[in-house]
């Protein structure tokens, strides 16, 4: 909405990618809605009808986003730093992939350490023991005392016997 000189006329590239994503999501819903057998029964509205409606709306919103991106430039975005982002996402992904084998304590230690690294704390000799301590504390309180079933692994086996 804020015209910002000559460079402001340049179409917003990100808007086209978002528009494409929305159209693709919409198409997926329309396709899936059409695949469902029509069992509208007495209501006249079947299980596939609402997904199709939402799908069409998403396609329209995608087109709207593309037009908007053509007419108006995107706002100037702050530069994103990929390294902390990768630390954080990497920590999440490794934790998700491994927590059911290595157990909650080690999984959360990895996540905690990577998250701390993402925010600039790269002293691993401090972060790893802290994460380990936090994981052990949570496991002791929630799994052992409050009977919440958390994934177990070698550490849980050695300390808590489960």
């Amino acid at each position: 909405m804020t015209p910002n000189g000559a460079s402001g006329r340049r179409p917003d590239g990100a808007a086209f990618i978002i528009a494409l994503g929305l159209v693709a999501l919409g198409a997926l819903l329309v396709w899936d809605g059409g695949r469902i057998p029509d069992k509208a029964g007495y209501s006249g509205v079947g299980p596939g009808d609402v997904p199709k409606l939402i799908g069409y709306a998403l396609v329209l919103l995608g087109i709207g986003t593309a037009i908007e991106g053509w007419r108006n430039p995107g706002p100037k975005r702050a530069k994103q730093h990929p390294v902390p982002l990768l630390w954080l996402l990497g920590g999440m992904v490794v934790m998700v992939a491994s927590i059911h084998t290595i157990g909650f304590v080690l999984g959360s230690t990895i996540l905690f350490t990577c998250a701390a690294a993402a925010f600039g704390e790269r002293r691993f000799h401090v972060a790893i023991p802290s994460g380990l301590g936090l994981g052990l504390f949570i496991y002791a309180v929630f799994d052992v005392l409050l009977q919440l079933n958390l994934p177990g692994g070698p550490i849980e086996m050695a300390i808590f016997g489960r």
Binding site: K39, G41, Y42, V141, V144, L145, N149, G161, R162
Partner: protein, 314 residues
Amino acid sequence: MKHALFGAMVAAALAMPAFANDYTIMAPASPGGGWDSTARTMQEVMQAEGISSNVQVTNVPGAGGTVGLAQFVASASGDPSQLIVGGYVMVGAILTNASPVSLADVTPIARLTGEAVAIVVPAASPIQDIKGLVDAMAADPGAVSWAGGSAGGVDHITVGLLAKAAGVDPTKINYIAFSGGGEATAAILGNQVTAGISGLGEFLPQVQAGTMRLLAVSSDARIDGVDAPTLSEAGYDVVVQNWRMVAAAPGLSDEQKAQVAADIEKLAKSAGWQKALADKGWADTYLAGADFDAQLAKEIEATTAVLKDIGLVQ
């Protein structure tokens, strides 16, 4: 504040004895539901009666128990300490969800409890008996709306069976699924629907308070203290029981299976279990061994047929 927290937690810790692990029971549902309370009651009684020194309960919710069942088959195979709770709802869910695993992939041990399905109308309804309701459905199936639990569940199946028994096209029934008996109860009390169908326990307090009229129950014989005919008594050959069972892991040796079955029999016959059943209002429908296997096979067959008739399964 820290001290109060710590004190309460220590108290909680002391209340729980630390024994070796003997049984792990999977409740393939979220905490709080019927399967979960069955599993937790088993846990309590098995420990209290000394059948097992330590019993753990795990919850794997999802899709009528089929998510838990699939995980159980994959992870517990050959391990005699693993048990899973299940029930009639699972039979239907396996079919409607086209589940890759079925009850044939586990070792059913015994049926433990069961509950009849009840058919009610709002107190203000002009319909007085089950015949009046079925006749209205025969005259115009669309005009009779049924409120019950989720599509393809035991309530839906019972309506389908009833329609079939009364000579009404089961695909024509106007069944309106609600998320569980509670929301269905509200719709019935608010006169939003013609009739309601759900577990007897769900409706009984309302019937006793006079806000609903109980027309029939789906058990094979009249239930003590419940003033309503069975469906077969009223001339419709329909017997449905929403039972719950316990099964062991696949791939057990005969000795292992016999050991588990013996433990479960000890549980079912124990005073603690009988008291728990009475407290919770569950009927004792213990059935084990070849009798249970035969019964299970028969019910799977009947359920498959009716789900095809309703049009939920191709």
